[in-house]
Symmetry: D2
Subunit: 138 residues, 4 copies
Amino acid sequence: MNTLARADFPVLRPQQTRWSDNDVYGHVNNAAYYLWFDSTVNGWLMDTTGVDIRMLPAIGVVVETSCRFVHEVTFPDRLDIGLALEHRGRTSVRYRLGVFRDDLLCAHGQFVHVYVDPATRRPTQIPDLIGKALDTLA
Amino acid sequence: MNTLARADFPVLRPQQTRWSDNDVYGHVNNAAYYLWFDSTVNGWLMDTTGVDIRMLPAIGVVVETSCRFVHEVTFPDRLDIGLALEHRGRTSVRYRLGVFRDDLLCAHGQFVHVYVDPATRRPTQIPDLIGKALDTLA
Amino acid sequence: MNTLARADFPVLRPQQTRWSDNDVYGHVNNAAYYLWFDSTVNGWLMDTTGVDIRMLPAIGVVVETSCRFVHEVTFPDRLDIGLALEHRGRTSVRYRLGVFRDDLLCAHGQFVHVYVDPATRRPTQIPDLIGKALDTLA
Amino acid sequence: MNTLARADFPVLRPQQTRWSDNDVYGHVNNAAYYLWFDSTVNGWLMDTTGVDIRMLPAIGVVVETSCRFVHEVTFPDRLDIGLALEHRGRTSVRYRLGVFRDDLLCAHGQFVHVYVDPATRRPTQIPDLIGKALDTLA
């Protein structure tokens, strides 16, 4: 997995580190990467669908995330977060994410959305607009 | 794994949610769980060793984390974060973590520290004081 | 103002620091205090009114905050956040906040809510339930 | 003060909002602005001095911050954070900050650094390299 390169990600979105992302050891805290994953998935979905995904009939609830940290990043760094489709089901989507500083893979992870009805919170089919966005990742 | 109970964790530490942990859907954002994992592992290490772990000859660098989200939590909630030893190597420690609201398992995850020399950032043996703390988890 | 004491705050609510609150200098980042202010005001409002304030006919939008940092705090620390009423208008409330480690005042600040209609975002009268909660602070 | 414009800030630095910056009401939480202030002041200092300011003989400790919120921002938004010198003393610097979405002033605030000796935490003269950076703001 450590051999992932920028070309393995059809989408790359810029992300800045923040002063507060750094912890006491002077490198970015592990939780900050998940903030970037979140912003990358949701930002890409909003840009690609052209709608506020919070207003769709089903909302994506995060049921699983993971990350492996390969090279430390710090503040200030300009990163690119890679986004790829790992698996697509009827009600869920598994994304692969990569954190790059230039061509260096600094971290990689997974992020799983299950679509649920906002009221009942029961799993439901991926909304059409989201599905069309996912088509562009395949 | 969803059958983890409080009794599976030798250590349980309280954790409050914060208003800002909630995202736009009214439940806690996935990244917040990693902030609790961090605080639980490091807080327990500091309390158990009785020293500021940031001053030890080797520091614990996070190389991998993961979390599965089973039941949503919100603000305000009072949680207990369970901590258990999953695996202990010569230079690394893998912890298992559980997020409980009362007896309900809301999330569970893994957190891996590799000990490194603060200057060279090369892996090095787990410091004795940390090792003694880990003994109490076994 | 540095002479504020615990007795100057009719409400004191516990708050834990988190590992990630610390910045690279080993003390808590200034933005973290605002997370505690937020959690204190909103948590107290929810506990005192007994309702989810997000469901009220008017929502409190933060229009101004400020903080002076007197003594550094760190992780792990157990703090008490003091809450007092500084000024109450027809559509807005100004709170005074204090951060205490035991009896030591570590920081103090202000936090202003304006109540607005959730749809139009125009200022509107403080909801009755909030008003009754504020009565208990006077 | 609401009439502050981009031209009132000699430095403007880009800042992205994050998904997690949004709170339950769908706009950015007040504490996030302080994360941007922090990143703007420290990022500009590091870029302008060309050194890692954490390694200087004196470190800047934040003793006061404040912010007024004029127009809501959300995720995803691309902002520019304006930085100007409000006052410069022997041991302290007061910055003025502005948050802009295009030409719209969304928030403005103040941020005060006192320089201290890292060991004793006593106020000390602003380091020369920082002073030279501040000259460029005047």
